[in-house]
Symmetry: C2
Subunit: 342 residues, 2 copies
């Protein structure tokens, strides 16, 4: 006696729905709700349903579309990383659906759901500042949809990741100011999330500790929006307090540019009286006078690496049913660019 093979009807009976609905759900017809589709997929998996060849072809029909979720669109780093993602996706025949979380966890969840529903072949994400837990990404694991995180990544989530070593880079930046003779180094830091601004703060503290310089809370300011304006205002605060810094490590070039402008507004000479270093090496760092010393971050390369990792994973999954796939974690190199501000 042959083993009974699960049919669409079996699934329909279990779910108390019609065979037509089950069939349509498996074929991703637009008139079936996402909830129904997911219930059907779940039950089909549970009952070891093996679709016929035609359904399989549809199921495996690649969309050649990759979903991208970034926290901001009009942003120097992300538009350059996106450029890297798109140029290399293009080369391998993929297009991207671009979405933004606008740094909101709620929107990130919504975008993910949409991309999942659109059957993208894979997802590239840089997490929203609000995102601490990433349980919402578990659904991708369940359905074997590859995901690569870049820049703002989650440490515990298992997937391929590409980023820079923020702590080490910040350590290098701070140590550079110490080596230049700065005794009181302020840090205008980013918000407590995402992880990378926390890591930069760690690097700052590590460099000071190693050089036996006490960490002074008066010299630490925390941005909310990480803008030129915040850099300007915090630097004016720092430079008008009793305990003035002689060096500032700014969490980004935007903040660093604001810091230079603030020093100039108070008649304080950069670099003679105050040395300033930024982070990311964006165009504005080369336009401000004095030019901003900064940490060069390979924006385009980060995007390129992320898309190449993702496509590799997508194409491996096509070849083998249960891939013994090892996630990659790539840390791209940064380097210090010395300019006039130090």
């Amino acid at each position: 006696m042959t083993k009974h093979r699960t049919t669409l009807k079996d699934i329909a009976i279990k779910l108390g729905t019609s065979t037509t609905t089950v069939s349509k759900a498996l074929k991703d017809y637009p008139d079936i709700s996402l909830a129904t589709k997911m219930a059907v997929l779940k039950m089909a998996k549970k009952m070891n349903y093996e679709p016929d060849m035609r359904a399989l072809a549809l199921k495996n029909g690649k969309s050649n579309i990759i979903g991208v979720i970034i926290p901001e669109v009009a942003h120097h780093f992300f538009s350059n990383a996106l450029d890297g993602i798109m140029k290399h996706a293009e080369k391998k025949g993929y297009k991207i659906i671009l979405t933004s979380s606008y740094n909101s966890l709620k929107k990130e969840r919504k975008q993910l759901k949409f991309l999942f529903n659109k059957k993208v072949d894979g997802i590239i994400v840089s997490l929203a500042n609000e995102t601490k837990k990433v349980k919402h990404f578990d659904i991708l694991k369940k359905y074997e949809i590859p995901i690569v995180m870049f820049d703002k990544v989650n440490e515990s989530f298992e997937c391929s990741k590409v980023s820079i070593d923020d702590e080490k880079s910040a350590y290098v930046a701070t140590k550079f100011l110490l080596d230049k003779g700065c005794k009181k180094i302020a840090h205008i830091k980013g918000p407590r999330h995402p992880l990378n601004s926390v890591s930069r703060f760690e690097g700052y503290k590590k460099a000071l500790e190693e050089h036996n310089v006490e960490i002074n809370p008066e010299l630490i300011k925390e941005c909310k929006e990480v803008t030129i304006e915040e850099g300007y205002n915090f630097t004016r605060e720092l430079l008008t307090q009793v305990n003035k810094p002689d060096g500032i490590f700014a969490v980004t070039d935007q903040v660093g540019v604001g810091a230079i402008q603030a020093a100039q507004s108070l008649g304080i000479k950069v670099p003679e009286e105050l040395k300033i270093i930024g982070f990311s090496d964006s165009q504005i760092a080369t336009i401000i006078r004095p030019n901003l010393t900064t940490i060069h971050q390979p924006n385009f390369e980060i995007g390129k690496t992320a898309i190449n990792m993702l496509i590799k994973e997508i194409e491996l999954l096509e070849k083998v049913e249960t891939a013994d796939f090892e996630y990659e974690q790539q840390i791209l190199d940064t380097y210090l660019v010395e300019r006039e501000s130090t």
Copy 2:
């Protein structure tokens, strides 16, 4: 006797293919080639084939996806316009597939084909610099897929458009230099395509003519890439020739920033000896010292207006079969921002 109603079989016989292929083509199955799909659609239209309700639901099944084709991704204007497109698409429940022509006509055609094949609900495009004729967009008309052009638009193609008045804005910029007492105004212009750099050149000439200032070819330079470097090099050329300018109208802020840096490299004082005006009001204009006077261009608003026009058209088309739709042409206002460079 009732009139014979065209069936899938009729179409298949005419095309010498199988009913299955015709059915799959009409349902946009991934295993049917684009060429076949288009042949089937064409024949179906010719034979007045009326699909049954289910097929109709599929055909009319909105993707809620809008295709976007921009000439550059990592570019201040486009990333801000894109931000406007995405935020307002989001509000109305649409997502975008982002593609870039990288200023190549060939790639623009390829992207259009892809988006057409993906059945996007509509397309927003800013033309590639290379694009002179836009015959490749005719297919959208044929299949009633709405398209909106923004920024780099084609004058003769009939569709809704949103842009600024480049000629008038350039006229305002040049007239401002004349009113400030400049006698020899140079123009560092953009390439001959797209239209908007040509229009800016027209505005420059118009202002000079109206003020009876002769147009001197020695004072006109033409960029290829429209970068800071080109602005720098052309300005050095202009300032080291016998016939030196006392004012420069730069086609973009990038070129204007290069012009300021070149003047400084030669010890020429801005604005005392040379007045410089840019175009677009990007962040770099506020960072360079002296700050760059410029024409403010509403980047985000341009994107927002384009997406709102497109969604309006998509939703009108849903309601009426043959819409008596009037294309809109919106010209958004620009204004001059006076800063230190003049």
